[in-house]
C-alpha cells in the first residue's frame, strides 16, 4: 500500500481550515441533507404513518361521506375535501417522529457529540432535523392528496391550491418536528420521544375534526378556537372546497408560524440544556 503524503497541505490548507466557516445556509443544507439521507435509508419508518393516514382517509370518507348531505354548513362541494386536511394533519403528527428518531440515534451513537465538536452552528443542528422532517411531511401530504384524487377529490382552487395545501403541511410540520426534536434532545431516548409525540395527538380531536366548527359543543368549540390546528384545517378546507380565501389562508399560515416559532424556541432551550457542558 502506498502511504499518502500526510504533510502535503495541497487539498486542504491548514490555515484556511482554521478560519473558514461554512455559511449558515450551507450548514443548514448539509445537516438537512444528511437527515434526509438517513430517513430515506430507513423506509420502514416512513411507510406506516403514510399507510395509516390513507387508511383513515378511506375510512372517514366511507363512513361519513354519504352522511355529509345531512351535515349543515359543510362548506363547498365534498366531504372528501373536508376530511382530507384532517388526514394530512394526522399523518404530519405521526410522521414528525421520524426526524426526532434520527436525532435520538445520533445522540445514542455519539455522532451528535461529534457534530458539536465541529464549528457547526446550533441553528443548523436544530433546523436540520426539523426541516428534513417537514419536507418528509410534504412528501407524505402529496401522496395522501394523490390518493384522495383517486377517490374523486376535486380541488376548488386547482393544482395551485393543492400546492398551497402541501405548503401548509410542510409549515405545520416544522412545528410538530420542533416539538419531537425538543423531546429527543430532552430525553435522549427513543421511547420517550415516541411517547411525547402522542401528546400532540389530542390536538387533532380538540378541533373541528369531523364536522364544521359551529356544530361543536360549547366547550369543545372554545378549545378548538384556541387550537392552532383548527385554523390550518380551515385554511386547507377552504382551498379544497370553496376557493381562495385570504383571511382563512392568513390565519392558517399565522397558526403554523406561531406553533413553529414556539416549538423552535422549545428546541433551542432543550439543546441548551443538553449542551450545558455540566
Amino acid at each position: 500500500m502506498t502511504t499518502p503524503n500526510l504533510s502535503a497541505q495541497s487539498t486542504f490548507s491548514g490555515t484556511a481550515v482554521r478560519n473558514n466557516q461554512a455559511s449558515l445556509p450551507l450548514q443548514i443544507a448539509l445537516v438537512t441533507w444528511r437527515n434526509l439521507v438517513t430517513i430515506f435509508r430507513t423506509p420502514t419508518a416512513l411507510v406506516p404513518p403514510l399507510v395509516i393516514s390513507i387508511f383513515f382517509l378511506v375510512i372517514y370518507e366511507s363512513t361519513l361521506g354519504k352522511a355529509a348531505g345531512f351535515i349543515p354548513n359543510l362548506s363547498g362541494n365534498s366531504y372528501l375535501g373536508f376530511i382530507l386536511p384532517l388526514s394530512i394533519v394526522s399523518s404530519s403528527l405521526s410522521g414528525s417522529g421520524i426526524a426526532a428518531q434520527n436525532l435520538v440515534r445520533d445522540i445514542e451513537s455519539g455522532y451528535f457529540d461529534k457534530l458539536l465538536l465541529t464549528p457547526v452552528s446550533r441553528t443548523a443542528l436544530l433546523l436540520g432535523p426539523i426541516l428534513a422532517g417537514a419536507l418528509i411531511l410534504g412528501v407524505q401530504a402529496s401522496v395522501v392528496i394523490g390518493v384522495a384524487m383517486l377517490l374523486g377529490l376535486q380541488s376548488a382552487t386547482g393544482f395551485a391550491g393543492l400546492a398551497v395545501v402541501v405548503g401548509l403541511a410542510i409549515l405545520l410540520g416544522t412545528g410538530f418536528a420542533g416539538f419531537t426534536v425538543s423531546a429527543a434532545l430532552g430525553s435522549g431516548s427513543a421511547a420517550a420521544t415516541q411517547g411525547a409525540s402522542f401528546l400532540f395527538f389530542p390536538l387533532t380531536f380538540l378541533t373541528a375534526s369531523f364536522v364544521p366548527l359551529d356544530l361543536l359543543d360549547g366547550w369543545l368549540q372554545t378549545a378548538a378556537k384556541l387550537n392552532p390546528i383548527t385554523y390550518v384545517l380551515e385554511a386547507m378546507r377552504g382551498l379544497l372546497n370553496t376557493g381562495w380565501d385570504s383571511t382563512a389562508l392568513t390565519q392558517g399560515v399565522a397558526a403554523c408560524l406561531i406553533l413553529g416559532v414556539a416549538m423552535y424556541a422549545l428546541a433551542v432551550y432543550a439543546l441548551r440544556v443538553r449542551t450545558r457542558r455540566s
Binding site: 500500500m1 502506498t2 502511504t3 499518502p4 500526510l6 504533510s7 497541505q9 487539498t11 486542504f12 491548514g14 484556511a16 481550515v17 482554521r18 478560519n19 473558514n20 466557516q21 461554512a22 450551507l26 450548514q27 448539509l30 444528511r34 439521507v37 438517513t38 435509508r41 430507513t42 440515534r105 445520533d106 451513537s109 455519539g110 455522532y111 451528535f112 457529540d113 461529534k114 457534530l115 458539536l116 465538536l117 465541529t118 464549528p119 457547526v120 457542558r277 455540566s278
Partner: protein, 322 residues
Amino acid sequence: MSNREIVVENLGKEYPGGVTAVSDVSFQVNSGQIFGFLGPNGAGKSTTIKILTTLALPSRGKARVGGFDVVDEAERVRRIAGVALQEIGIDPLMKSTELLTMQGQLFGAKRKDALARAHELLELVRLEDAADRRVGTYSGGMRRRLDLALALVHKPEILFLDEPTTGLDPASRRDVWEEVRRLNRELGMTIFLTTQYLEEADELAEVVAIIDQGKIATEGSPSKLKASVGTESINLAFESRATAETAVSHLSDMADNIQTDRDMVRLYMSEAAQTIPAVVNRLQQANLNPISLTLTQPTLDDVFLQVTGQRLQTEAAKPQAA
C-alpha cells in the same frame, strides 16, 4: 497563537449529585509528544478528555489546549483539536465518504476539497474499498479507523484519543498504534491518549501519567517509571556453580544486590541496561564467559501496583471479537 501544548492545572470535576470524577489533576504535554493517560475504568480518564475537548466544563482548575482556554476559547480549541471518543460517534446509516466529506464542509472546506480530503483519509486508514458501504456493515476495527479519520479531517494539531483500541483484536490494535506513531512522526501532532492497557502506554507514549481515583498517582517516561520501581536485573548463567561464584567475587561492587542460584547470578541495580558493557568487560578481564546474559526490567504493571496498591485489570492479552 497555538503552540500544540496541553497545560492542565489543578483540574477538578464534580458531576451533579456530588460524584467526584476528577479531584485534582495537573500535568503538561509538550508540543509533538505522545502522552499516555493510564488508569482503570472510572479513574477519571474520560472526564478529563471531555473537559480538554470542550464537551464538559471543569468544576475548578484551568486547562489550555494549544494555548487556548478550554472554557473561554472553546471554539478555538475545537478548530485545532481532533477528537476520537471512546463511544465511536458515527451514524451507521451513512457511508464513510459522506461522513468525511460533510465533516470537512462543516469545517469550512469547499465540497471539492472536502471530497479530496475524504479520499486521502480513506486511503490513510485503508478503507478505500469500503468507502461506499454503509458504516453499519463495518467491523469494530474498521469503525475505529473511520473514527480516527473523522478526527483528522480538519488537520488538527492536537489529537485526543479516548481508549483508541479498547475492544479491538490484536491485529487492529497494532494498526492503530502504527497510525498514531505515523501521525506523530510525520506531522508532529501532539497526541493525548487514554488507555487501560499497560502495553499500549508502554508502546506508544513518551510520557505516561497514571491516574487513580481522580488523581495523578505518578508521571514520567515509561522507562523512568519502571526504573523507579527499581527491580531491574542482569541475569548471567555460567558453566558451573564454581564459575558463578568466581564471577560474583569479581562483580560484587557493581550491583546493589546479588543473588546466586547454582550456576545463575542475578545482579540487581538501577539502569541495568547501561551497566551491561561494564559487566561484560569485567568478566572478560577475569576470563569468565557467561553462557547467557539477559536483562529483566520491571513492567508498567509493577509501577502501577506500587503507586496504586492494586494491579490494573488488563484485557490486552485477550483477543476480542472485532
